[in-house]
Symmetry: C2
Subunit: 243 residues, 2 copies
DNA sequence: CCGTCCGATTTGTGATCACAAATTTCGTTG
DNA sequence: CAACGAAATTTGTGATCACAAATCGGACGG
């Protein structure tokens, strides 16, 4: 384990909560609420939130309180174009250097996605989709690029559960991953990039339209409550529930 | 003024110091040193440094102390490719929407660069170069993209002073900016993007070679001392000197 | 002269306290 | 009954304290 600081644990907890859709766009959070929910003092919460605000995962109002950014069409489309550019770049570089073992790993994850999807298990589906993308980008061996992409996923995270279940059951998903793997085998960086860019474009354009339908308004922000946990071994902080 | 918090002032001071080359790659810094130099407590320094580490402007060693990342060829080339991709994207979007007033502003800044350069004033030269690029990218009206690009500039900042004075006096610089402005007038997004990408490629490829020549080693890291300042009006914290 | 060990110092991390600014609450008034 | 305003509460910010882990500095032995 590399970093066991509380600050990092709080950061990971919030990141996990964001990417699994436990916070709604527009939802407000207070430092003390999070600190109480995770059973830590304000200090690590401030540092974690400061970083998340810097990354754009939360917005800090000019005065008080942080909140999850609202879902607007312009925002989604901007994230879409940046992600296409950078994840396309990572995919192209990966395609040029991937070896058989790495490609086999991608195939394994693609299968796991198909399995979870056939069972209607959205949670593990999303988890495996993330795993597939970051395994792919990791092959490129570009640590700075990877970190920037992680920041972008963090910002799109709260919206991605809107893809379930309608969008996800369209027929292009499995084909896209199969085509990417085929392009990687052929060392065809151009084709691999094109497939990834199309994939991102379809998903985020779909969400952008949803944002339009909703009148650029966030879903009703749920009020949040939590269970205290003052555990013995605080190996991973976790939000007990966010109602 | 939007954010007057000490944390932000410390962040800006460190950012300024980094991008003006006051810290050498590889240089180590302690929290207490920075706090003492700027006359604040540890708290705002920790938050500012946490953010800078998250952005990659500093590295936190697994154990103690933060330091400016070393200049390696791989790192420079990675930053080069990411910057080409994203600043190319911003330039293309800007070219599609720029109005006459915005283009005139770019021309004004380009002239200011030429003036500073003819006087051999490297400091204002660099400042205006930054101004030119961010004015250009700002035209695109993409706040998320702009923030990511700022993070990338922060990471390339410590190396950019290596462009002076040799690289800067090559003849392609002024021509590039003139060509960009011409492409913007013609609403030629493809040409504008090409010019920016070439510009970034030349500069960072030049630095990448320097990193190679230096054997992937940082310049001698100067030991740092500072003057205390416990001023009355602490409107902008500043490192007095870093020897 | 070089390597190794042990005590002293330095350094990052987290908790707690203090405080000003913002928000909320609630009584009063038109 | 809506609108205003003052008191009470909430909330982020910064400073300070405490502590464990890492680093540093010599003393010692080879």
């Amino acid at each position: 384990m590399s970093d066991t600081s509380l600050r990092t644990q709080v950061y990971d907890s919030l990141r996990q909560a964001l990417t699994t859709g436990r916070f709604a766009p527009g939802q407000k959070l207070t430092f003390r609420f999070i600190a109480g929910a995770l059973g830590v003092s304000l200090t690590p919460v401030r540092e974690a939130l400061g970083r998340l605000v810097a990354e754009g995962a939360f917005e800090m109002q000019p005065n008080r309180s942080v909140r999850v950014p609202l879902m607007t069409r312009a925002r989604i489309e901007e994230l879409r174009d940046i992600r296409k550019s950078l994840e396309g770049l990572a995919t192209a570089k990966a395609a040029m250097v991937a070896d058989k073992r790495q490609i086999a790993e991608l195939r394994r994850i693609a299968l796991a996605i198909a399995t979870a999807r056939s069972h209607g298990d959205d949670a593990t589906d999303r988890q495996h989709v993330r795993e597939f993308h970051f395994s792919l980008y990791g092959i490129a061996g570009q640590p700075i690029l990877l970190r920037v992409i992680e920041g972008l996923w963090l910002q799109t995270g709260p919206y991605m559960n809107l893809l379930y279940p309608d969008f996800i059951n369209r027929p292009h998903g499995p084909q896209t991953r199969a085509r990417i793997i085929r392009a990687m085998q052929a060392r065809d960086a151009v084709a691999a990039r094109r497939e990834i860019e199309n994939d991102i474009d379809r998903a985020l354009s779909y969400i952008a339209e949803l944002a339009d339908d909703a009148g650029n308004i966030a879903p009703a922000a749920p009020k949040a409550g939590v269970g205290r946990r003052r555990g013995t071994a605080m190996t991973s902080l976790q939000f007990d529930y966010v109602q």
